[in-house]
Structure formats: structure tokens, C-alpha cells
């Protein structure tokens, strides 16, 4: 039997380079016995080869040659773990500013952010940047590991200074929960096993906090049900069905649905799921729909229930910019939103976020790794919800038309704190 999905938590590590994210994940995986014997041996061999001790825990996820040689994480590693109570999908993200795009990749599907920071150094600018990006991406719950407490001699004052800093930023960014745990990833205190060095700390270990965190928040939504159409399937006997993956809410047979952007109303006649006919199509399921009326629906159209999404050519959005070449007003790119790709033009830059002060200031361009507010105009109308209401129909990417590189992550509207 497989577990119900409420027992699956997706989390991403967040924080600055060298504060110990990969070491913490290595510790978590080793102490919960997720590693096979041959994998553990391979980590030991690689550590010895580089003269970095018996077992460099960061090598558990830092699997690339360059990562091990340089001692940094370059790209996200995905690991899968299970404890008796829960399954985890772990995205161990890079901390270096140069690889912010990869951190955003890992955090874009996370329910929870596991923030790792060096307690002796406090909240660095890069940690604040990551927290901003996590908040923008819709992460509401953070677990903060105040790491290297062994170096800080388990000084209570060091820990509480971190708590104060975290609370201030957390209130500003609108996190609903942010537990701070004093940790030594290297020694293993308060990761899986409780630490006996901090008798003043009564809270959970990192593992306990992860096991208690709310799962499934990524897909939570306050929009109606949505089916971006991916493909039209020809049925035997000449009919057509419309295939895609459900998000936002559930569809029920017999229900009135609206084809967008056409605005045509019809009734859902039948639902086919991967295992056969269904009465109800739940979010996350790939299905195809048979409709009562003949329509000219095709890829990039959307079927929706109330409250309906908006069909628009012009909108405001928040973007994280990933290209070396700054984004300027008037720039032309391609936009991919749900299953639609269309040319897009920047019609205005409203400002960029200062991650230090968390204030938006005026800007004429958006540079690499900046978070900016922009106005965009698309060639074809796109059918959107605000990102705060629906992460699937509220998100898009921008693509360079010449190189086909993905140059920005975009969110319709703006976060509460902007």
C-alpha cells in the first residue's frame, strides 16, 4: 500500500553558501539511515581522496565533480527519504548568489523551506534574498536551522539573536510559522538526535519539525478548478476529448464549465482518468474531458469553473531575473504560461526589491538575480489567476527567443509584502 499524499512533504534548503545546507541534509539522511551501504562507502572514499576527513556529509548530495572539488553546491540535488511517519522529497539548493536560478528551481515546488544559517554570522544578505524568493514563490512555513552552534559554544545569546532576526524578517515576509532550532549539522545535535549541549532549548529537532510541518501546501488554492488543455485526443467513432492536468479545485461530471479565453459555456459530460472513468477529477490528476457541446477547444485554451480566471493581454507581474544581460523596458521575449507560449513585451518596469531593506525602489532595468515588478503585454491573451490564489495559473516563465534559455520566473500580481 502507498501512503496518502498528506504524508508527503516537499521541502527545499535555503540560505547562503557555506552555512551548511548540504552538510545538514547529509546528516539528516545518514542519521535516518536513508543511505545504502555502498553509497556511504562512496562518500567516505571521496572524502578521503580530497583530505576532508572521514566522512564529508556534504558529499551525500554534492554529487558533481566540480562541487566536490570546490566544496560548494552548484545545482539542486533531489533526494527521496522516508521515515515511519512521512515521505520527503528534498531539494538541496545551492547558496551561492551565482546560482540563485537553481535555488528558485528547487524552491518553486516546495511546501516548506528549511533555512540553514551560520548562527555565529546571523542573517546574511544572501539568506535574506533566498527568504524573499521563497516568500514570493508562496512558501508560508519555514524551519530555521541555526547551524554551527558548536562553534558558538552553544551560547544561548547567539541563538536568541538569530531568533530575533528571523522573527523580524518573518513578520515582514508574511511567513505563518518559523521555528528556529539550534543545530550542529557537523556533530549531529538537534538534527535527528536531540542535542544535549543546549539544556536551555526545549523545542523540536529538525526532523521533528519536518515531520510536523503542513504538507501539500504547494497545491493549495483559492481559485476555481482549472484544466489547461495540453492535447486533443481523437476518440474511436469520431469524438474528441481534452487532456490536461487538473489544478486549483475539483471538477465533477454534469458540472457547467467555461472554455477560456473564448468564454463559451458547456457541460462536463465525462471524465477519463489514468485508471478509467471518474465522477470527480481532483487536483494533480491527469485526465481527459468529454464535453456536451462541440467546441473549437485546443492546446493552450483552458476549462474552468467559478470563480473564473481572467483573460488578459496586459498585466502586472513580479519576476526573478536570471540572465547576465539586464532586462530593460521595451524588451521582447517569449512567455510560457500553463500550456500557452506567446510573444511578450515589457511595457514598464515599476521597480526592484532591495533585499536588505525589503523596500521596492525605482529602477530602469532589472539585473541578474534581481526581483522586479514589471508590466507585460502579450501577443495572445493568457488566462490567469493571481499567483496568490493559484500557483499553476498564476505562474509563467520568460524565454530568450534566440537562445531559448529560460531567463525569468514570473508571478502574476505581487506578493503582500511588496
Amino acid at each position: 500500500m502507498t501512503e496518502p499524499t498528506s504524508d508527503l512533504l516537499r521541502f527545499a534548503t535555503v540560505g547562503s553558501v557555506d552555512d551548511g545546507k548540504s552538510t545538514l541534509i547529509g546528516r539528516l539522511l545518514v542519521d535516518t539511515r536513508q543511505l545504502f551501504d555502498d553509497q556511504l562507502e562512496a562518500v567516505a572514499t571521496a572524502s578521503a581522496k580530497r583530505g576532508v576527513g572521514d566522512l564529508d556529509l556534504s558529499f551525500v548530495t554534492d554529487g558533481l565533480r566540480a562541487e566536490r572539488d570546490q566544496g560548494i553546491t552548484i545545482d539542486v540535488a533531489y533526494r527521496y527519504a522516508a521515515t515511519p511517519t512521512r515521505k520527503f522529497v528534498i531539494a538541496d539548493c545551492p547558496g551561492h548568489v551565482q546560482y540563485t536560478r537553481n535555488m528558485a528551481t528547487g524552491a518553486s515546488t516546495a511546501d516548506v523551506a528549511l533555512v540553514v544559517l551560520d548562527a555565529t554570522k546571523g542573517l546574511k544578505e544572501q539568506t535574506r534574498r533566498h527568504l524573499c524568493i521563497a516568500a514570493l514563490l508562496g512558501v508560508r512555513n519555514v524551519i530555521v536551522a541555526a547551524n554551527k552552534m558548536d562553534v558558538a559554544k552553544w551560547d544561548e545569546a547567539v541563538y536568541f539573536a538569530v531568533v530575533d532576526q528571523v522573527n523580524e524578517v518573518s513578520a515582514r515576509l508574511g511567513f505563518t510559522s518559523s521555528v528556529v532550532i539550534p543545530v550542529s549539522a557537523l556533530a549531529g545535535d538537534n538534527v535527528v538526535d536531540p542535542g544535549f549541549m543546549a539544556n536551555w532549548y526545549q523545542g523540536p529537532t529538525v526532523l521533528q519539525a519536518l515531520e510536523a510541518a503542513p504538507a501539500g501546501s504547494w497545491a493549495s488554492s483559492s481559485s476555481g478548478a482549472r484544466l489547461p488543455i495540453q492535447w486533443v485526443l481523437r476518440q474511436h467513432g469520431g469524438g474528441r476529448t481534452y487532456a490536461g492536468m487538473v489544478n486549483g479545485g475539483e471538477f465533477t461530471v454534469g458540472q457547467e464549465v467555461t472554455l477560456m479565453p473564448q468564454g463559451v459555456k458547456t457541460v462536463l459530460k465525462a471524465i477519463n482518468g489514468p485508471r478509467g472513468g471518474l465522477e470527480v477529477a481532483l487536483p494533480g490528476l491527469s485526465v481527459d474531458f468529454d464535453l456536451t457541446d462541440e467546441t473549437d477547444a485546443g492546446r493552450s485554451d483552458m476549462l474552468a469553473t467559478a470563480p473564473l480566471p481572467t483573460s488578459t493581454n496586459e498585466f502586472e507581474a513580479t519576476i526573478c531575473w536570471f540572465s547576465d544581460k539586464p532586462l530593460t523596458d521595451g524588451a521582447r521575449l517569449r512567455l510560457k504560461h500553463t500550456t500557452r507560449s506567446t510573444p511578450v513585451r515589457v511595457t514598464g518596469i515599476a521597480g526592484t526589491l532591495d533585499v536588505g531593506t525589503l523596500e521596492v525602489g525605482p529602477a530602469s532595468e532589472i539585473a541578474l538575480n534581481d526581483i522586479g515588478l514589471v508590466h507585460l503585454a502579450t501577443a495572445e491573451p493568457i488566462v490567469v489567476d493571481n499567483y496568490r490564489d493559484n500557483r499553476v495559473t498564476g505562474s509563467f516563465i520568460l524565454i530568450d527567443e534566440v537562445t531559448n534559455a529560460t531567463v525569468a520566473a514570473g508571478m502574476i500580481g505581487h506578493a503582500n509584502f511588496l
Binding site: 558533481l64 545545482d75 493549495s220 492536468m245 475539483e250 516563465i397 529560460t406
Partner: protein, 304 residues
């Protein structure tokens, strides 16, 4: 307010639907996709999902077998049975042909051919002008695979550049490539070995018989049990023994090891894997034992 934590859908349902979503997305965005079909369990699951994604239509793309020439006969028979039953178009990218035509050096009749697969794969992609190749790779298999995107962009030489991967946000899979470039698409990225077996059991996905326990002559080499046959002969005092074994992965017959096992049903296999303390590739693949970064190095040269 609704969430995907609905009790009526389980973990396997979500993995299945997500994989189907990825397959449809790639087929919609790319001109000439192909599915790499080795006859192994992961590609069997991938094929099963691809068929579901487009039912009742026929699969709108061909499958390609990168054939090292060192096959288990059971796997070849299984491949041909699947192709016939599902009405698939099969292309074979042959390592033997590449050797015969001098495109790759001949490693000798008993030499390991996994390294040479890359050349045959790239030649096959080029010959048919494929711009996207589906593979059954999973991130839990290897530390380099753990770093790779679901859609892995490959340049004109087919190589993977782990330092400049495209960002891949949310569920927005971006498959745009220029002429001569291609994508590798891995819809099973987030599946674990156990997920694959649980899915095979749930869906009754047919598999080659060598995945189940059977008695056969084997010999121990480099701490692995290799099947004695056309491609493996005893050398330097190696002793041939008969044992009850099964294969945990299926690859080139000259470098894929068997495990001692009496698991002859899916239930027994799942029970066995649930308590194992050796990884799938660690237990059975000689090709990954050469160096610390064997998989990364192969991928940089254009491997799956």
C-alpha cells in the same frame, strides 16, 4: 480551498499523473520525439505511461532500442513482444553496426560496450532527426542523475553541461531547442526504485522474465554475479556455479550483475527491496564502478 492531499489520490496516482503530464507536454512542444526502450523495468513503466497518455490513439512517436549487441535473449523477446502487441514503430540504434562501420573502436568480442552506447544513441538521434528522447532515468539512481532536470537540454554534441542547466520552475516544462540540439526527457525523475515496483504491481506492467528469481549458471567477478553465457566465460580460475538469482536492473549482458534471490513474484521482490542495504546500481552495474563520477562523465559525453 482544495489541496492535492485528498485521501482519494495516493502518492502513486500523483507520480503517474505528473509523468503523463510531462510526456504530453514534450510531445506537444517538440517536433520529433522518441522513447528510449531498453526492455528494462523503468522503460517498461515509461512505455506504459506513454500509451496511457495518448489512449485511445496509438503512440504518436516511435521507440528506439540502443542495442549493445550484448543482450539477454529474454529481454529481446520481451521487446519484440511489446512492439507487436502495442503496434509500435521500433528503431534500433546498433552498437554492433557502429563497430562494423568503424564509428567506434572494437572493444573485442567480450569487451564492455556500455561506453559505446553513447555513440550509437547520438547517431540514432541524428539519423532520425529526433529533437526529444524520453528516458526512464530516476534521480534516486545516481548522484549525478539527482542533479539533472526533468527536461535535460543537450547541445549539438548531445552532452550534458551540469553547470548551466536551464531553470525549471513549477510545472512549466520548456522544451524549445534549436535545430541540431535535443532534449532528454525524464518523466520518472521523482520515482524511487520502490515506487516503480509498486506501480508495476498495481498496473500489472509486463516485464522480462529475468527480473524474477530463476536458476542459472553464474560466476563471481569483481564481487558481482555475472550470468555465464554468450558474453561471459570463466577466466583465470573463475568457477561457474548454479544459483537462484534475479536481475535488479537490465543492461548490457556483459556488465549487469545478478543478485542471489528467491523472489519469484512481485510481492516477494517488493519485500526484498524494502529491506535491502545496497543500492540498485551499486549491486548490479560494473560500469558505474570505474570512477567516482562515472555517470556524470558519461552524461557529459551524451549518454542518456
Amino acid at each position: 480551498m482544495s489541496t492535492s492531499t485528498h485521501p482519494q489520490i495516493d502518492h502513486l496516482d500523483l507520480l503517474e499523473s505528473h509523468a503523463i503530464f510531462i510526456i504530453r507536454e514534450v510531445v506537444a512542444e517538440c517536433e520529433r520525439p522518441v522513447l528510449l526502450f531498453s526492455g528494462g523495468k523503468d522503460s517498461a513503466v515509461l512505455l506504459h505511461l506513454a500509451v496511457k497518455a495518448f489512449a485511445p490513439q496509438k503512440l504518436p512517436f516511435p521507440v528506439m532500442h540502443v542495442d549493445t549487441g550484448h543482450n539477454f535473449p529474454e529481454v529481446l523477446a520481451y521487446r519484440d513482444e511489446r512492439v507487436a502487441t502495442l503496434g509500435l514503430r521500433l528503431e534500433v540504434a546498433s552498437v554492433q553496426e557502429a563497430i562494423d562501420q568503424g564509428r567506434v573502436p572494437d572493444p573485442g568480442p567480450l569487451g564492455m560496450r556500455n561506453q559505446l552506447q553513447t555513440r550509437a544513441l547520438l547517431d540514432g538521434i541524428e539519423k532520425h532527426k529526433f529533437d526529444a528522447a524520453f528516458g526512464g532515468a530516476r534521480r534516486d539512481e545516481d548522484k549525478a542523475r539527482a542533479k539533472e532536470r526533468v527536461l535535460s537540454f543537450r547541445g549539438a554534441f548531445g552532452g550534458w553541461d551540469p553547470k548551466s542547466q536551464r531553470p525549471e520552475l513549477w510545472q512549466l516544462y520548456q522544451g524549445k531547442v534549436n535545430s541540431g540540439e535535443n532534449l532528454r526527457a525524464f518523466p520518472l525523475s521523482d520515482w524511487t526504485e520502490l515506487d516503480v515496483w509498486n506501480y508495476i504491481r498495481r498496473e500489472n506492467v509486463p516485464l522480462p522474465s529475468i527480473y524474477f528469481a530463476h536458476e542459472r549458471p553464474v560466476l563471481k567477478r569483481d564481487n558481482m554475479w555475472l550470468a555465464v553465457g554468450e558474453f561471459i566465460h570463466p577466466q583465470h580460475g573463475e568457477v561457474v556455479e548454479r544459483h537462484l538469482v534475479r536481475f535488479r536492473t537490465v543492461g548490457d549482458a556483459s556488465c549487469t550483475g545478478a543478485v542471489r534471490s528467491g523472489a519469484d513474484t512481485l510481492d516477494a521482490i517488493i519485500a526484498e527491496i524494502s529491506v535491502t542495504n545496497v543500492s540498485e546500481r551499486g549491486a548490479t552495474r560494473a560500469d558505474d564502478r570505474f570512477s567516482e563520477t562515472a555517470m556524470e562523465d558519461r552524461k557529459r559525453e551524451g549518454y542518456f
